[in-house]
């Protein structure tokens, strides 16, 4: 078989450039962010990449104060579950929003967090 429509490497290359990408099933229209081989709704193997707007609202959040060793210098920091305008959800690190302003329903916008060769999902002010 050919390589999947969107590999993790492709996803994070695009994210690093500021573009959040999902996959949509050409058969049933199911939308998903993490690329997967089969559509969980219809089990077809017919994904196509689709760019997302990157806008969403906070569905839940936490402020992490006891961090893993690699993140100790960052603490306290916030991680949120964000529901994107297109309907799919993803977790991301919150950047440039004061911790006391965080609230469920707060609008946020995707922003990549780049650390050396690693790219992580982030969300900043809308």
């Amino acid at each position: 078989m050919a390589e999947p429509a969107l590999t993790l490497r492709h996803f994070f290359e695009r994210a690093r450039a500021g573009q959040l990408t999902a996959v949509r099933c050409r058969k049933c229209g199911e939308l998903a962010i993490p690329p997967r081989e089969l559509c969980p709704a219809c089990y077809e193997r017919a994904w196509e990449p689709v760019p997302l707007g990157g806008e969403g609202t906070i569905a839940s959040y936490t402020v992490i104060r006891v961090a893993p060793r690699a993140f100790m210098a960052d603490a306290p920091y916030a991680v949120a579950a964000v529901k994107l305008r297109e309907g799919v959800s993803i977790l991301g690190r919150i950047v440039d929003i004061p911790l006391e302003r965080l609230a469920v329903g707060l609008p946020v916008r995707f922003r990549p967090i780049i650390r050396d060769s690693q790219t992580a999902i982030g969300f900043g002010p809308a």
Partner: protein, 384 residues
Amino acid sequence: MRRVAVIGVGVTKFGKHDRTSSELFAEAAADALADAEISADRVQALYYGNVVGSETEHQLHTGPQAASILGIPAIPTTRFESACASSHAAFRHAVMEVGAGVSDVVLVGGAERVLNVLTPDSTEYFAYASDAVWEQTLGLTFPGVFALIARAHMQKYGTTEEQMAAVAVKNHKHGALNPKAQFQKEITLEQVLKSAYVADPLKLYDCCPFTDGGAAVVLASEDVARKSRRPVWVLASAAASDWMLLGDKRDLSRVPATERAAALAYKQAGLAPTDVDVVELHDCFTIAEIVATEGLGLFEPGAGGRAAEKGMTSLGGRVPVNPSGGLKAKGHPIGATGAAQIAEIVTQLRGDAGPRQVNRARTGLTHTLGGNTATVLVSLFGRG
């Protein structure tokens, strides 16, 4: 499937130990065999749970290591890793081996050692059970995972920090009655509410501790069990999974894997939630207990917090939950936890639980959750 029973149980003291995880397992396993009054040469297989041995002890291949240290090196053995649900996953597979007629006597257990490393390191190792690409890169911790669940539950149902604190107070009260528990002291609601935030809205006293410990149970076929002194029958053992990523879950206030595993287990046993007299469930965080009591059908979705606050899950309440003290007070040696929960339910159904005994307990349930709620095991046990 043949009927399967637990005929012996063993649990080490939970807390800090200067022994390897395999040594801790071996102590619990020898105790379980003695309790079963069965010779070690009757054991035909070992199903073993261990999670962070690679990280804290630089040890892989812990199955044969555990069997060797116990002194029965020749039997087939496999290590199960399903995060915090590991030894309960091992148990389900062992039940199938005995139920299928492959073996008549099988040992199940697990052990963990983590207090030999510092908290930032154990926090990191436990986070390996979340996704390395999508979640670990955010600095997400396990308290963080359950904090996201807690906030969603508070938002949807109005659950309060006081209700979560009531779970901690209750489980410490139970743990004070358990000589094997890591924390054998009661705490007040005020102490919980005034403890420092670990991952808002979860505070230190909402979280279970890091724990060293081991646990084991002996499983037997009906023929063998009938000759044993006090068998407790396995009425069901079911597993379910869910999306690995928390972001893929549609409703963070619920744990679909718990609901699926519970439905399967009740169906296998021909029982309903109202038939359950005593429950040992996965309270890694106070909110986890509230959500689990709802997912297991003991209370309606959203009613778990109020139920805990009203004492409905306390010893003497409508359905006592975690009479052992739970993960919160008894402790949570992750590879051993499922087996330890089963050992407590067996002890309860035998009427051997002393001051923490649940009156007239005939049917018991164990629930163990792994990772970002992606693995859940539910088993049911009966005396008859």
